[in-house]
Amino acid sequence: MSAAISLAAEPIFHVGSWEITNSLLTTWVVMAVIFIAVAIFRSKRLKKFPKGAQNLIETIVDFLFKNMNEVTGSTKKTLTFFPLVAGIFGFIILVNWFGLIPGVGSIGLHEIHEGKAIFVPLFRAGTADINTTLALAIVAVVATHIYGMKELGVGKHIGKFLVNPFKHSPILTGVGFLEMFGEISKIISFSFRLFGNIFAGEVLLIVVTGLVGYVAPVPFYFLELFVGFVQALVFAMLTLVFLTMSTAEQH
């Protein structure tokens, strides 16, 4: 068995000139699952004494809320950032874990591409595609700027990056430029950290499964479950840190 692992997501079909990739397809599947789960969850009334799914969601919300409170230091700020940060966590962890379901990455079509026979999996973890992680990173970083402008005012927020060298020290002007590059590096580190971890995990699982088919991959599946959780948490918490920093008054 030899699976040529492509760095880029493989196209499944075309809509006009737009290639619908397997990672995008998987993301839609995950979204559908989320919508159905939420609909089922909402069809029942919330109880004072939680049971089953409510217990699970309560635990997650409580866990996130407490961790976020430790970073922001104020409940008010945590509540403002909660939708985005908890959304990032929920989306990424589900997309990550969906990639671990048997069939994702192994069910596919054999296609002839440029004269070579290649295997094209039908599903691919959404976060194992740089498009997804880059989109998440851009949304997260843009959100930090939106919240920063909302909290401090547009002028003051932009003033962090563009400093008049005649009014202030020219060193601060240089620092402002560095900050600007910092924003770009944030996007790059965000997207490549998540993509790298998940993509590497997929590769690792394929390789281990190729070497020893039975039992041996099990610990690696556990490892990947853990990695999926940690990466989601890291992405969410880093976003929270950047949000907190951009809304904080400068000294």
Partner: protein, 168 residues
């Protein structure tokens, strides 16, 4: 640009994923996180409130107990005072009653004494008169003559003298 191609970066897919993500964020927040978060906050508020209430109740209970003790002490002291006062009053009253009876007895006794004295005096006076009369009659018998009125006067005078002499 070659790097972008190698990673398969396609701005349409990128935008699609961003939109997908934002939809998921909205759905999760509106239908899962928000109601649960509200529930959790309400619950923690309720717990906080009940703890505070319990503390408050305990404090009040302690206060009430303290006032109760104080009141009991006060009541005891008051009772003692009333008892003492009653005792004193009773003693005073009995003393006064005793005094009154004593005084009454004294007046009765003195009155009785006076009456006795008066009776004695009048009795003596009568006796003296009778005696004088008797003596005059006796003298008449002895002398066989009827004594004049001067003689009667004389005898009475003599008796008076004798009597006053004896009295002295």
């Amino acid at each position: 640009m070659e790097l972008l191609e190698k990673f398969g970066i396609d701005w349409r897919t990128l935008i699609a994923q961003a939109v997908n993500f934002l939809i998921v964020v909205v759905v999760l927040w509106k239908f899962a996180y928000k109601p649960v978060l509200k529930l959790l906050q309400d619950r923690s508020k309720r717990v906080e409130k009940s703890i505070k209430d319990a503390e408050h109740i305990e404090k009040r209970l302690q206060k009430i107990e303290a006032t109760q003790k104080e009141m009991i002490k006060k009541a005891e002291a008051e009772g003692q005072n009333i008892l003492k006062a009653a005792e004193v009053q009773a003693q005073e009253q009995s003393a006064a009653a005793m005094e009154k009876t004593r005084a009454e007895v004294k007046t009765v006794v003195t009155k009785a004494k006076k009456e006795i004295q008066a009776a004695k005096d009048s009795l003596l006076q009568e006796a003296r008169k009778d005696m004088a009369h008797l003596m005059v009659q006796a003298l008449e018998k002895v002398v066989q003559t009827k004594a004049g009125s001067q003689d009667q006067e004389l005898i009475e005078k003599t008796l008076q003298e004798v009597y006053s002499h004896r009295k002295q």
